[in-house]
Symmetry: C2
Subunit: 444 residues, 2 copies
């Protein structure tokens, strides 16, 4: 083997992922050197405070609060600080100085990705971000390289572990949203302020990254349609299971044609949806993540694993460190991210989905026909109707006399037609209440 | 974008995968050129016979029977002929002439892999083989790159679609092995001579490739312990499901310490095994493949998809073509396969597994104690015992008077101790017959 000088690695951030990355670089240095063909020298760790409490004890002499000086002369810079600034500025400085950069910063990529990738291309450096989506799960590299000769049609991803944990507890243990969220917080799966997770913001950032990569086109996070799980009730989850579905928060990226304008484009969206229990994503429990990819030639593929956790995410970061180091040893310039396709991002109105709508209706002759006609008038085709006894009244409550519950499954319908249908249902004299409207995904 | 000369791609073989690769290269040339940053020119297709029947019509002017001339001057050679020769010689010639080579030839890699990888390293060319294991499923690249900073502990793979199809029909439809094999043959999932699949030879080749890559060590196919599925009976599959398991043909690659000698090494083996219905691999139905990887930091990961099929496998081949082409455009030398770890491949005797053993025994007082003692004498610890009524006698057959069926689950036991136990059971006066011995995998 040719002797090669040590590669200098600078680490920015020593939180739960950063501390594990540092620990692994120090503990497994011989093994990593053998895999790379050169030593990896951790030259320093930029931290906000020198004496913060950390998951792993780190050598004090490696710590510094001066990130700017640390990145000077580094071959590889690993950014695990999170947040937009100073991460953005430091990454731009590192790239410009010729270093390859590894980041797990999904917020930054979803917001300033184009600027970072353009800079990397201009200077011939590489920006790696396997850990930004799906934690330990290899998904970025398969999309960028393995499927580079194929055409991705659709991605359905469970990309947020916190919300999957909550929905899974509701489904399998019958907990309410509040109970499940409390458990998630207690076990460290949810942050003190859980908005980024349960509001779907984290999933939307990941959807933007996945869609940009899969469709070779720029999908900014602002263009991702987003609904969180706060509106999901235990009743919906229970009813879904009874009907052969489970509720998951999905990040959906899709090649699409806007039927109203004939425009080819892409859609990226995040919302809670029903998926059939037979779908591989239905078996993703707890805080796990999975990304289901449908490609034209490859057919359906699924990538499954731990979506978060310090040591798990560190695995993905270190895979990128080794890739970057091998590239340095080999000496070639990087492969730039290419957004050559430049497809428009279509609004949610261009999307058609199946829906499942639950109604409380007047239980009398002719109601079903009236409701069927109402759907037809809005251009929404009904596929299935299930009638069940009215929900059990709460203690002290009077059951609505002569009420019945209808669960209506539709064929593919547009958001606009569905909204018009729901509006018409709400004002119909035979409908007491529209109790649930959920999209259905993953049916063939 | 910098203008770059077209890259010359030579294709060897126009079978079900080759014809699809040619078709995609021709149909999607603009899109591929945009992704690579240079045109991909299919300069010719080497075939055995000019007028063979093919899945896809190919331009006659591209066909040639002179493979040796075709590879001269090619930048990228795609070998999809299969078999050891002339594939081996042609690949060596192509590498030596400076071309990158893509192959899906698992038999060749499992047999002559070291020679091919050494040649590639010497000349600075790259050998890609994503399609050799798991068809369309990206598994080679995740193991080589994404997990390059982690340590793989174990791989459990369903890597042969034919046998999974057969076992799945037995499990879900109650078909016998013969019926299921007949269906597989009829639907084109099994070859006229199914030995390579049902004998476990195909899976053993893939196990050798996966183990070599995961453990950075040379695992020749001869060192892979192999049992096929021919001995699996419908009775075993039915009994397995009743006990909460399903039977899968597994390729298992594992970091292991031989307890008898204290030697650290690796094990690669293929055999039908019980896995719990709650394990993600249990949900892999039909001819699909899945590879379950346990890594030290990443934890459990699973990669799932179509394990075979012309167009599906073509997706993986084209991903490699794009990677090779990008490397040519970028200009750097390849990353060599590294077998730096050089761990010994341990024999099957070094492996400990759990077992499930079914016995027909004399139904009388003291039998259970006698059998428990017999296990204990051989050093095999019993975890569970289930007693069930004797199997229904076949028409005209007399049920053995006073017989009962015992299903015994063991703790981890060595192959040698288990073999001694089975031998002792067979000669025991209270045992009528040992009706089933199966290993159990995937229990935590």
């Amino acid at each position: 083997m040719i002797e090669y000088r040590n590669l200098r690695v600078a680490l920015l951030g020593a939180g739960s992922v950063g501390a594990q990355v540092a620990d692994q670089l120090l503990t497994h240095s011989d093994e990593l050197a053998a895999r790379v063909g050169a030593g990896l020298e951790l030259v320093g760790i930029a931290v906000r405070s020198m004496d913060a409490q950390r998951d792993v004890e780190l050598p004090a002499e490696l710590l510094t609060t001066d990130a700017e000086s640390l990145i000077l002369g580094a071959d590889i810079v690993v950014e695990l600080m999170g947040g937009l600034e100073p991460a953005r500025t430091l990454i731009l400085q590192a790239l410009t100085s010729g270093a390859d950069v590894i980041t797990a910063n999904k917020a930054l990529l979803a917001t300033h990705g184009p600027e970072l990738f353009e800079t990397a291309e201009q200077v011939g450096a590489q920006l790696y971000y396997e850990a930004a989506v799906g934690g330990a799960i290899p998904i970025i590299r398969p999309l960028r390289d393995s499927l580079a000769g194929d055409r991705v049609r659709r991605i359905l991803g469970i990309v947020n572990g916190t919300t999957n944990f909550i929905l899974d507890r509701m489904d399998t243990l019958g907990e309410s949203m509040e109970q499940a969220l409390a458990t998630a917080t207690e076990l460290g799966y949810a942050e003190a302020d859980p908005t980024a997770d349960i509001g779907g913001y984290d999933a939307a950032q990941k959807a933007a990254i996945l869609a940009s990569l899969a469709f070779h086109t720029l999908v900014p996070v602002d263009a991702v349609y987003r609904e969180g799980i706060t509106g999901v009730t235990l009743e919906q989850v229970v009813a879904a299971r009874r009907a052969g579905y489970t509720v998951k928060l999905l990040a959906i990226c899709e090649r699409l044609t806007d039927e109203s304008t004939g425009t080819d484009g892409v859609s990226a969206r995040v919302y809670p949806a029903l998926i059939p229990l037979s779908h591989p994503l239905a078996a993703v429990h707890g805080a796990n993540n999975a990304v289901f990819v449908e490609a034209e030639a490859a057919g359906p593929l699924m990538f499954y694993g731990a979506g978060a956790g310090g040591i798990q995410t560190a695995s993905a970061v270190l895979g990128d460190v080794v890739s970057a180091a091998r590239r340095h040893v080999a000496g070639g310039p990087g492969v730039a991210e290419s957004t050559h396709a430049d497809l428009p991002v279509l609004p949610i109105d261009a999307v058609t989905t199946r829906y499942q709508i639950s109604l409380e209706v007047q239980d009398e002759t002719g109601v079903l026909a009236e409701i069927a006609q109402l759907f037809e008038q809005q251009g929404v085709s009904v596929e299935t109707v299930q009638q069940s006894p009215p929900p059990r009244p709460l203690p002290g409550e009077q059951p609505p006399s002569g009420a019945a519950t209808l669960v209506i499954g539709t064929h593919q319908a547009s958001e606009a037609d569905l909204a018009a249908t729901v509006a018409a249902l709400t004002t119909s004299s035979v409908v007491h209440a529209v109790t649930s409207v959920l999209r259905v995904e993953g049916l063939s």
